[in-house]
C-alpha cells in the first residue's frame, strides 16, 4: 500500500474531471424542457430557493426565447446563478418540491435551465446590470467568496464604492478552492467572478488578510461600513490518536490542491478512508477515486436518514465505486513507521434526538479496523476564531452573531456567509450577502 501520484494517463484524468452535469447542447433542448414548466403561482420551487429566484419567471422567459430576460431574472436574485446551477443540492431545494414530484414525475430541470440562461449571459458577456450613481459611500468587504461578492454587487448596484479584501491569491472563496472540479472548474469560477465584478464600482485586493494586514479598526476609519464574509477556518480536528501520522489529510486542502495543481502531481492512496458525509466529504471521496485511488470508503457515524449530503451527491459517490459504512465512527488512526496503516472504528447505533432533531449516534462497544494508507478528514471546518481583535463578536461555537439587521455588536460592521451560519451552501451565502448589503444600505441611510 502506497500513496502515489501519476496513477492515470492524461486522457483518463481529463475524462474523470469533466463536467458531470453537462449543459444543454442546444437552445431547442432548453426550450423544450422550459415548456414542461406549468408556471405555478406562488411557486413551491421559488419558495424553496434560499435566494428566492423567480423560477417560473425565468423559465417562462427561456420558453419564449428571451434568454437575456431569463438571465436577468436569475441574477437579480442570485448573482452567482451560474455556480449555483452547478452546485446547489437542487433535489432538496427547488427541484425537490416541483409540483411534478407530487405526480411522481420528473421535476422540471430547473438547475440545468438556470445554467443554460446564466451561462449564456456570461459567455456572451451581456451587460445586465450597471453600477448605481455614486452616493459617496464606501464599504469594505472581507472575503471574495459568494457572500462577499453578492454583497459587493448589490452595494455597487446602489451606488456604493466597494473594496473587497481577499486573503487568497484568487477570488471565489470555496467556489474556487473547495468544490469538486467536475462540478465547477477553477477557470469557470474566475470567469464568473470577473463577470460579477464587471458591473464596476468594486475594487478587489487579493492576498490581503484581516487580522494580519489590517484590522477592523483600520477599516472603520476609512469606510462607512464593513461586511465580514471571511468564511471558515481549517478542517476540524478529529481529536483521536494518530491524527498527525503521514497519510492523514484534511479534505479542503486535498480539494484545494486538485483545483490549483496539476492533477497528475496529486498523490492518493491505494486504500482511502474519508471521514464524514457532507458535500465536502463526497467531493473528496469521488475525487480520490477519480485520481486513481484503488478503494475509497466513506465512514459516517449516523445513518442514511441523518446524512448531510444530498441523495444525488451520494449517488455520484456510489456510482464512482466508493464504499459507504453507516453508523461508523473513527476512534483511532493506526500507523507504522509514521505512516497510516489503518483506521480503528466504533460501530454505532442511534440514540436520542439532538437539538437539530436528528438522532444521536451512541457507541455499541464493538470496534473494528479498516485497513488503509490514506485518511481524509471531512468533518466540517473550525470557525476562524478571533481574527477581529477587539470585541468578541462570536458565540461559543465561534460563529459570528448578528442582530435583526444583520449587524454584529460593532456598529457599522455587518456579516454573512459561512462565518455566520457555520458552513452551508453557496446559495445561502449569496442570500446572506444580499441581505447584508440591504441592511448596510439601510444603515448608510439610503
Amino acid at each position: 500500500m502506497t500513496i502515489q501520484k501519476n496513477r492515470l494517463s492524461e486522457e483518463t484524468y481529463q475524462a474523470n474531471f469533466q463536467d458531470i452535469h453537462p449543459p444543454y447542447r442546444s437552445e431547442e433542448s432548453a426550450v423544450r424542457e422550459a415548456h414542461r414548466c406549468i408556471n405555478c403561482f406562488d411557486a413551491p420551487c421559488t419558495k424553496w430557493c434560499p435566494s428566492g429566484i423567480d423560477i417560473p419567471g425565468f423559465i417562462r422567459r427561456i420558453a419564449s426565447g428571451d434568454d437575456k430576460g431569463a438571465a436577468r431574472t436569475i441574477f437579480t436574485s442570485n448573482i452567482m446563478g451560474v455556480a449555483c446551477s452547478k452546485v446547489c443540492p437542487v433535489e432538496r431545494l427547488c427541484e425537490g418540491v416541483c409540483v411534478f414530484t407530487l405526480l411522481k414525475e420528473k421535476p422540471v430541470a430547473i438547475a440545468r435551465l438556470q445554467r443554460y440562461a446564466a451561462e449564456k449571459a456570461l459567455r456572451r458577456n451581456w451587460k445586465l446590470f450597471e453600477k448605481g450613481r455614486s452616493n459617496g459611500k464606501r464599504v469594505a468587504v472581507i472575503g471574495a467568496g459568494p457572500a462577499g461578492l453578492a454583497c459587493a454587487h448589490t452595494l455597487a448596484l446602489n451606488g456604493v464604492a466597494v473594496t473587497i479584501f481577499e486573503k487568497e491569491a484568487r477570488p471565489g472563496g470555496l467556489m474556487t478552492y473547495g468544490i469538486a472540479a467536475y462540478k465547477v472548474t477553477t477557470e469557470a469560477c474566475h470567469e464568473e467572478v470577473d463577470y460579477i465584478l464587471s458591473i464596476g464600482g468594486i475594487e478587489l485586493f487579493c492576498e490581503k488578510e484581516l487580522g494580519k494586514d489590517f484590522t477592523i479598526k483600520d477599516l472603520q476609519s476609512k469606510y462607512d461600513a464593513v461586511f465580514l464574509s471571511p468564511g471558515m477556518g481549517k478542517t476540524r480536528r478529529l481529536g483521536i490518536p494518530g491524527e498527525t501520522l503521514k497519510g492523514v489529510y484534511d479534505a479542503l486542502s486535498f480539494i484545494r490542491r486538485i483545483r490549483t495543481e496539476d492533477r497528475a502531481q496529486i498523490e492518493v492512496g491505494d486504500k482511502v478512508v474519508v471521514i464524514g458525509l457532507g458535500m465536502t466529504a463526497i467531493d473528496a471521496a469521488t475525487q480520490a477515486r477519480r485520481l486513481g485511488a484503488g478503494e475509497v470508503t466513506l465512514v459516517y457515524r449516523r445513518s442514511e436518514v441523518e446524512k448531510p449530503c444530498s441523495d444525488r451527491e451520494l449517488e455520484i459517490a456510489l456510482l464512482d465505486g466508493c464504499r459507504l459504512l453507516w453508523l461508523t465512527a473513527p476512534v483511532g488512526i493506526q500507523g507504522k513507521e509514521g505512516k497510516v496503516t489503518g483506521l480503528v472504528c466504533s460501530r454505532m447505533k442511534l440514540g436520542k434526538k439532538d437539538s437539530t432533531g436528528r438522532r444521536l449516534p451512541v457507541v455499541t462497544g464493538e470496534t473494528f479496523e479498516l485497513e488503509c494508507d490514506m485518511v481524509i478528514k471531512a468533518v466540517g471546518q473550525e470557525p476562524l476564531g478571533d481574527l477581529f481583535s477587539g470585541k468578541d463578536i462570536t458565540d461559543k461555537n465561534g460563529k459570528i452573531v448578528l442582530d435583526d439587521h444583520f449587524m454584529t455588536c460593532i456598529p457599522g460592521v455587518f456579516a454573512g456567509g459561512d462565518a455566520v451560519n457555520g458552513g452551508k451552501e453557496v446559495v445561502h451565502a449569496v442570500q446572506a450577502g444580499k441581505e447584508g448589503a440591504k441592511a448596510i444600505l439601510g444603515y448608510l441611510g439610503r
Binding site: 415548456h35 406549468i38 403561482f41 406562488d42 420551487c45 418540491v97 409540483v99 407530487l102
Partner: protein
C-alpha cells in the same frame, strides 16, 4: 365490431377518411402511398387553371413548444398539366378500385371552361367532383377559388354550369373566409350541388421572422396571406359545419367535414355535428400517412365502446345540443370542486380566478405547498379553473341548480323577472 365502411353521395370507401385536396394528393406516387397505408379515399389536388407556384410555401404556428398546432400555405392548385394528372388518376384507380376517387376542379369563370374540365375529368371514370370555391390565395386574385365562394350568385352560376354536364356526384367546397357560410351554401345547394364540403383554409399570417421582419412563409423579402389549417382551426370548422348542418336547406344534403381533423376524437366530433365523410390533410402532412391506422382504430374502439354500429347512425347526433343562447337554461348552475387528493398545489386555478374571474378560489398559505379550495358562494361556474388545471379530473364542475324549472332568457323576459 363497428363497421367503418362509408357511403357518401353513393361513393363507397372502406373508411370515412379521405385525404383532402392538397399537396398529399398531388401526384400518383403520394396517393399510392396513401392507399397502401389504408386511406379510404382522396380528393385529388385541384386541377384546371394553369398556374405557377412559389418557393417557399408553408409556415407553421407553434404554441408552448407543442409543434405546429396551426399551419398555413401559399401553394396554389396543381402546377402540372391536367392531362398528366388525369392519366395518373386512372392508374391509381386501377391499382385501388375499392377506394374513393374524387377530383377537385377549378377553372376560369365561363361555361365552356367548366364544361370542358368536367367532361374530361368524368371521362376518366372518377367517382365524384369537388368544386374548389375556397382557395384563399393566388386564385382569388384571378377571380377563382374563394372569390367565387364568397359571392352566392357567382357560386350558384358555376354550379349550374357544372350540373349541366356532370354525370357523377358534385361536391362544392366552401370557404370559411365569409361572415356566414349559409348564404353561399344555400345558393350552391339550390343550384344543384349534390354535396358540400368545408372548411377550406382561413386567410392568415402565422408570424414574422423577427430578424428580417419578413412575415412567414418567406418568399425572398416578402410574404402573402396564406391559408390557415391544422388542429387550431378545428373549433372554427365545427362552427361552420354546425351552421350548415342545422340549416333547413343545406342541412338536407350530405356534408364532408374538413378542418383540423387530427385524431379520431376530432373525427367523432365532426360526425356528431353532421359530417358523414371526413377529409384530412395537415395531420397527414405533419405525421405521414400512417396516422390512418390510429384514426380508424380509435374511431372503431370508441364506437364499440358506445355501441354504435355504423358511421351513418352517428351523423348529427350532437346537432340538437347546439342551440341559440336565449334557449339556454338560466337555472342551470355549476360550481367548481377541487379534489385535494389529486391537487398538485400549482395555484393556477387561484391566480386565474383571482386575476381574471370571480375571486372564488381561496388560498391557505403553506410551505412550500399552499392549499386551494373553492368559495362556492362566489363561483359562477365559468370553467376557467378547470381549464387551467394541469391534472385531469382534479377540478370537477358539480351541478347546483338555481331553481328546479327550466328557465330561458326569452321566458325570463316574458315574465319580466328582475335582473
Amino acid at each position: 365490431m363497428a363497421d367503418l365502411r362509408s357511403t357518401f353521395l353513393g361513393i363507397t370507401s372502406p373508411n370515412p377518411f379521405w385525404l383532402a385536396s392538397a399537396p398529399p394528393t398531388d401526384k400518383k406516387i403520394n396517393v399510392l402511398r396513401a392507399f397502401e397505408a389504408g386511406w379510404g379515399g382522396v380528393v385529388w389536388k385541384t386541377i384546371g387553371a394553369q398556374i405557377r407556384n412559389v418557393s417557399s410555401r408553408y409556415s407553421g404556428f407553434s404554441y408552448r413548444g407543442a409543434g405546429p398546432v396551426g399551419f398555413n400555405n401559399i401553394e396554389l392548385i396543381s402546377d402540372r398539366p391536367a392531362e398528366v394528372n388525369l392519366k395518373e388518376i386512372r392508374e391509381v384507380m386501377k391499382a385501388f378500385p375499392d377506394r374513393a376517387m374524387v377530383v377537385s376542379l377549378m377553372t376560369e369563370n365561363n361555361r365552356e371552361s367548366w364544361h370542358e374540365l368536367v367532361k374530361k375529368t368524368q371521362d376518366t371514370g372518377v367517382h365524384g367532383i369537388e368544386l374548389n370555391f375556397g382557395c384563399p390565395h393566388g386564385m382569388v386574385e384571378r377571380g377563382m377559388g374563394a372569390a367565387v365562394g364568397q359571392v352566392p350568385d357567382i357560386a350558384a352560376q358555376i354550379v349550374e354550369w357544372v350540373m349541366e354536364t356532370a354525370t357523377i356526384p358534385v361536391i362544392t367546397k366552401l370557404t370559411p373566409n365569409v361572415h356566414s357560410v349559409v348564404p353561399v351554401g344555400r345558393a350552391v345547394v339550390e343550384a344543384g350541388s349534390n354535396g358540400i364540403s368545408l372548411i377550406n383554409t382561413i386567410q392568415s399570417v402565422t408570424g414574422i421572422n423577427l430578424d428580417t421582419l419578413v412575415p412567414r412563409p418567406e418568399v425572398g423579402d416578402h410574404s402573402t396571406f396564406g391559408g390557415y389549417c391544422g388542429a387550431a382551426v378545428k373549433p372554427i370548422a365545427l362552427k361552420f359545419l354546425t351552421s350548415l348542418a342545422q340549416d333547413e336547406v343545406t342541412g338536407k344534403i350530405p356534408i364532408s367535414g374538413i378542418g383540423g381533423i387530427s385524431t379520431w376524437r376530432d373525427a367523432v366530433e365532426f360526425i356528431l355535428l353532421g359530417a358523414s365523410n371526413l377529409q384530412v390533410c395537415t395531420a397527414a402532412m405533419l405525421n405521414g400517412f400512417r396516422i390512418i391506422d390510429d384514426l380508424c382504430e380509435g374511431l372503431r374502439n370508441w364506437m364499440d365502446e358506445k355501441g354504435y354500429k355504423t358511421i351513418d347512425e352517428m351523423v348529427g347526433l350532437s346537432l340538437p345540443r347546439i342551440t341559440r343562447w336565449e334557449e339556454l337554461d338560466l337555472n342551470f348552475h355549476v360550481v367548481a370542486r377541487i379534489d385535494q387528493e389529486k391537487c398538485i398545489r400549482c395555484g393556477k386555478c387561484y391566480i386565474a380566478c383571482e386575476d381574471t374571474s370571480h375571486q372564488a378560489v381561496s388560498l391557505e398559505a403553506g410551505r412550500p405547498y399552499n392549499v386551494y379550495t373553492i368559495k362556492e358562494e362566489d363561483c359562477v361556474g365559468c370553467n376557467l379553473c378547470k381549464i387551467v388545471c394541469p391534472v385531469p379530473d382534479c377540478i370537477t364542475m358539480t351541478e347546483q341548480r338555481k331553481g328546479a324549472e327550466y328557465l330561458n332568457w326569452s321566458e325570463f323576459q316574458r315574465r319580466n323577472m328582475p335582473l
